[in-house]
């Protein structure tokens, strides 16, 4: 049996034995993030600047050029879900640096010496990132509505977008945590974070449809979890739009990626403190 499978089984058995403890431990970690955000909202506002520029400048200019065929929806309507997903990605992909800080401050060691399972600690971190991702959703909805984007406001659609955003944030923040566990220093982490961000973004369906890409890029895009996040948000957020891959596939891919990454991160997480 591979070591990965062994870790998976250990995490699964630990969670089966004490699911309540597992979930409450993860919730305790996530709650810390909520407390911090409640105390200081400035970070959320500064993070809103970049998506605002993408929608206001890029979206409006490319919308006028009409260079990118987007079917029954305007380019701005096509772009808005992509920018929400981009915002989720950019916020989450640098999340791992927090654990390097926490290691240097001794906070990580204290968490690791507690009886909470490593899986719960990692999932708690992922849930923390989801809190931040969700706050971006509100900002982008307000902005998109102001720009005349036709949004769906039915409960199912809003819950679906929230779930997709939370899952996407959790996936990319856990990926980021794995990178931090491997590189262990802030300097190397920032370099790799930059290297990851742009390929993930441009090799996705965030700002242009898959059909416009050359076949090799389409293949890369189909293996990119960001594409499925964009697809789910697009299908649920915009009136008259639909999910090209299908919502079921979008959520299955995101959830599978999260489980795989959490299992891997739970194994790597303690190594940061060594």
């Amino acid at each position: 049996m591979t070591s990965l499978a062994r870790v998976g089984r250990r995490i699964a058995s630990a969670s089966a034995a004490s699911t309540g403890g597992f979930i409450s431990d993860a919730a305790a970690i996530a709650e810390v993030e909520v407390l911090k955000l409640r105390r200081d909202w400035t970070e959320l506002l500064t993070r809103a600047v970049q998506p605002t520029l993408w929608l206001l400048v890029f979206g409006q200019v490319f919308g006028r050029i009409r260079a990118i065929p987007t079917g029954s929806v305007s380019y701005l309507e096509f772009l808005a879900p992509g920018i929400l997903a981009q915002s989720v990605l950019f916020t989450a992909i640098f999340y791992g640096i927090a654990i390097i800080w926490e290691r240097d401050l001794g906070i990580l060691q204290k968490l690791l010496v507690s009886p909470a399972s490593r899986g719960a600690l990692v999932l708690g971190k992922a849930a923390s990132a989801s809190v931040r991702g969700f706050s971006q959703t509100i900002i982008i909805y307000v902005l998109a509505a102001a720009l005349g984007v036709r949004l769906r406001f039915d409960v199912g659609a809003l819950l679906g977008v929230s779930l997709a955003v939370c899952l996407g944030s959790a996936v990319f923040s856990t990926l980021s945590l794995i990178v931090a566990c491997l590189v262990k220093t802030r300097e190397r982490f920032m370099g790799i974070g930059q290297v990851l961000t742009m390929p993930l973004f441009f090799a996705s369906n965030a700002i242009y449809p898959l059909d416009l890409m050359p076949s090799w890029l389409q293949a890369v895009s189909r293996a990119n979890p960001l594409s499925y996040l964009v697809d789910a948000i697009r299908g649920l957020m915009i009136a008259g739009s639909h999910a090209a891959f299908g919502l079921s596939l979008d959520f299955v891919v995101e959830l599978s990626a999260l489980v795989l990454l959490v299992v891997l991160a739970a194994r790597l997480y303690p190594t940061v403190a060594r």
Binding site: G21, S24, D25, A28, I29, E31, V32, L35, K36, R39, D40, D104, L105, G106, I107, Q109, K110, L111, L112, V113, S114, P115, A116, S117, P270, A273, R274
Partner: protein
């Protein structure tokens, strides 16, 4: 799960056999055999790089040994790490309380991660705050605390679940004399009140003399002397101090151990303490 008990029914707080940790060619801890009886304050003394912190990191399950083994409260650190973690408290050398949270919020996080029942949480937190003299600062964000208050908060955090063994890694490094004596007083009260075994590392001979019933001096990964402070002083001469004992056993050489990371960590902690 029950610990393995010796004939008198009380397991030693800590027992190590051949405990060894290598980092590449460097042997940080070499074949350590140690028994610490329950209820004592035990001091591990040594210069930077002597192996004190590495020993604590192994005993707290943060770092796996290269060879040998150890039990804490009768549980094996490698085979039963979660059982060990349930029974220990840990205050790392760095200031590990979350500066963005209040004292009470830090305590609440610890209470949740250590599985203290919801019905007991509020009482335990109040008791911890009162015991460490922090009741009036409970709602203040930790970044406003003095260094001594942060250390007291961290000790309160580490004691919330009434651990059998408390590990303190250089608990008073960087504190002014008043704060240092306050921390000592609280540690004495704590061991008297809860019969907790304390294992602390320190460079500070005065601290060791004031607090420890037994000490072990480590040098280049080996325990070179151990016993009660009075006994060790008597072996050196009639008016010997612990400084004299330390110099005798470590050769009085200017310290040459200590990785860059260890020194940086100590300086960072001192800097945070102002």
């Amino acid at each position: 799960m029950s610990p393995r008990l010796p004939q008198n029914g009380i397991p030693p707080a800590v027992r190590t056999w051949g405990l060894t940790r290598r980092f590449g060619d460097l042997i940080a801890v070499n074949d350590l055999d140690l028994t610490i009886e329950a209820g004592l304050v035990f001091g591990l003394l040594g210069s930077n790089g002597a192996g004190k912190s590495t020993t604590i990191r192994m005993l707290t399950t943060l770092l796996p040994p290269t060879s040998g083994g150890a039990e804490v409260s009768g549980f094996d650190i490698q085979r039963e790490p979660r059982e060990v973690r349930r029974r220990i408290g840990y205050v790392p050398q760095m200031l590990s309380a979350d500066a963005a949270l209040t004292g009470r919020e830090n305590l609440r996080l610890s209470a949740k991660l250590y599985g203290i029942a919801r019905s007991q949480r509020a009482d335990r937190i109040e008791q911890g705050l009162a015991f460490m003299g922090l009741t009036n600062a409970a709602e203040v964000v930790v970044r406003e605390y003095s260094g001594g208050m942060i250390r007291r908060l961290e000790i309160a955090q580490s004691m919330l679940h009434r651990p059998a063994v408390l590990f303190l890694d250089e608990p008073t490094v960087g504190l002014d004399p008043v704060a240092r004596h306050a921390v000592w007083d609280h540690l004495r009260e704590l061991t008297g009140e809860y019969q907790t075994t304390v294992l602390l590392t320190t460079h500070d001979m005065e601290e060791a003399d004031a607090l420890c019933a037994t000490i072990a001096i480590m040098h280049e990964g080996l325990v070179v002397a151990s016993g009660a402070p009075a006994q060790l002083k008597a072996q050196v001469g009639p008016d010997a101090t612990l400084d004299d004992v330390f110099i005798r056993w470590t050769g009085g050489a200017v310290e040459h151990g200590g990785a860059y990371r260890d020194v940086a960590r100590a300086r960072r902690t001192a800097h945070r303490l102002g």
